[in-house]
């Protein structure tokens, strides 16, 4: 029996790791989106109360954040190394190359996983600087919940998405995330061996629908705020 360390360095191990980390990140996106939709709650302070609740978790939040960062970087590292390995396995490309069509899953989405992935990586850094490490109480983004002074992240979100550059940029990136997940969700199931010929087309369709729902869900917020002037 191989050691776990050896197994994880084989082509099977790399795929199992991309699969598990990919699913983990997708689940994170689902939770993140649910949080975003509290912006539309009938309670105007729901969003700020939610972010305040996360911060009140203290150490637990740090722990989750550290796990997220590790998973994210591991996923990106393996994804890019798979892509680099390809260049070694076929240094000379075909002069003419075409897909044979169905049942191939070779699509724009699957062929651009590394590109959409790198865009997600860069976007995530910008996104964190905009919101997580963006202006807070000291810069006047203050509100009061039950008499307590908290950061008014909701107003920051509303302010940021008055700027069309942010709105266009976010929309574009969310579409690319949709592409990443269009192939990614189905692919992660195949990577984990959780697949059969009957199940495969079903999961491919469901994966596409989840990808579409996440992309539309995320890009809805900035566009809505821009059009309506704020929530």
């Amino acid at each position: 029996m191989p050691s776990l360390l050896h197994a994880l360095q084989t082509t099977i191990g790399r795929k199992i790791l991309t699969g598990i980390t990919g699913i983990f990140l997708t689940l994170f996106l689902v939770v993140h989106l649910a949080g975003n939709f509290s912006l539309f709650s009938s309670n105007p302070e729901a969003f700020n109360a939610y972010t305040e609740f996360l911060h009140s978790l203290g150490t637990l939040l740090y722990l989750v954040e550290i796990i997220l960062v590790i998973v994210f970087l591991l996923h990106a590292y393996i994804g890019i190394s798979i892509w680099l390995r390809k260049r070694k396995a076929r240094p000379e490309n075909y002069s003419v190359y075409k897909t044979s069509g169905e049942p191939s899953r070779q699509t724009i989405a699957s062929r651009t996983m590394a590109i959409t992935g790198v865009v997600i990586l860069v976007f995530t850094i910008v996104h964190l600087f905009t919101f997580k490490w963006g202006p807070g109480i000291a810069e006047g983004y203050v509100t009061y919940i039950d008499g307590q002074e908290v950061r008014d992240l909701k107003r920051l979100v509303n302010d940021i998405f008055q700027n069309e550059f942010y709105v266009i940029g976010y929309t574009a990136v969310m579409i690319l995330i949709g592409f990443h997940l269009r192939h990614g969700i189905w692919s992660s199931m195949q990577s984990l061996g959780a697949m059969s010929p009957k199940l495969s087309p079903v999961i491919y369709t469901i994966g596409g629908l989840i990808a579409l729902a996440l992309a539309v869900g995320f890009l809805f917020v900035p566009i809505w705020i821009y059009i309506t002037g704020g929530v």
């Binding site: 191989p2 396995a89 075409k98 699957s110 692919s187 061996g193 697949m195």
Partner: protein, 251 residues
């Protein structure tokens, strides 16, 4: 017959040997016809070239009926050409049109070094087999037929995976040059049969290691392999290989 004459321009990869640099060469064939198989069309061209005292095009072939897996040709960018579930030797010229330009390239992968022109060395696949693609059985006398009961469903499925002819089209068509479909088919076949039991865990571990050593790429689940496979092996084989590996880890 004469009315069915096809004029073709063939853009073929020529390479003296593994160490030399290759290049494309154009050949015009005035009198191909739709009833020829793709390999007969190449034979016809080679006969002409030899009559003209020119060097013929080297390509690999043996059975010419889709069972030996030697006719590895990348035809217009698709392994084994435009017709699915068809080896290049079973492809007929009726799938092309008069006046077509056809590009023919060898399989391209680090693990498949070019020997000459369109012929590549596919020993890497044999070495993957040698690493675990066998079963240990007594060979002194033939065992009774049906001595080991096997479910019909499992036997059929194992047979489906066993139809792999080892052509390497899956590697050739894979954007990553991965050999996962070939290796998966072999592992899946044995995993379904009691005869594969004794070496079950060792087999998947060693074959996967060998695949790595030969310099094949990783699988990104493009499923292009299934689309070009002349016998239609499903990527279910790859999912099964991954499950087998996880099973081997459990000890």
């Amino acid at each position: 017959m004469s009315s069915e004459k096809m004029k073709l321009t063939l853009r073929v990869w020529k390479q003296k040997d593994g160490a030399s640099k290759g290049r494309f060469e154009n050949y015009v064939l005035e009198d191909a016809n739709p009833h020829m198989s793709f390999l007969e069309m190449l034979d016809h061209l080679n006969e002409k070239l030899m009559k003209e005292k020119k060097e013929p095009i080297e390509f690999d072939h043996d059975c010419r009926e889709g069972i030996c897996g030697s006719c590895n040709l990348m035809i217009n960018g698709i392994a084994h050409g435009p017709q699915q579930k068809t080896a290049a030797c079973q492809l007929h010229m009726r799938h092309f049109k008069d006046g077509d330009l056809i590009t023919i390239e060898p399989w391209r992968a680090t693990a498949f070094p070019i020997i000459k022109d369109l012929v590549v060395n596919r020993y890497a696949l044999d070495r993957i087999m040698a690493a675990g693609g066998y079963v240990s059985v007594g060979t002194n006398s033939a065992p009774d037929a049906n001595a080991i009961p096997i479910k019909k469903r499992d036997a059929d499925l194992a047979m489906d995976f066993a139809t792999c002819i080892g052509c390497g089209a899956c590697v050739a068509a894979c954007p990553n040059a991965s050999a996962s479909l070939f290796t998966g088919a072999k592992i899946a076949q044995f995993s379904l049969l009691p005869q594969g039991g004794p070496e079950r865990k060792r087999r998947v571990v060693n074959m996967v290691d060998q695949m790595e050593k030969e310099g094949f790429g990783d699988c990104s689940n493009y499923a292009e392999c299934e689309a070009v496979c002349p016998v239609g092996i499903s990527i279910d084989a790859i999912a099964r290989m991954r499950r087998e590996y996880m099973g081997a880890m459990k000890g």
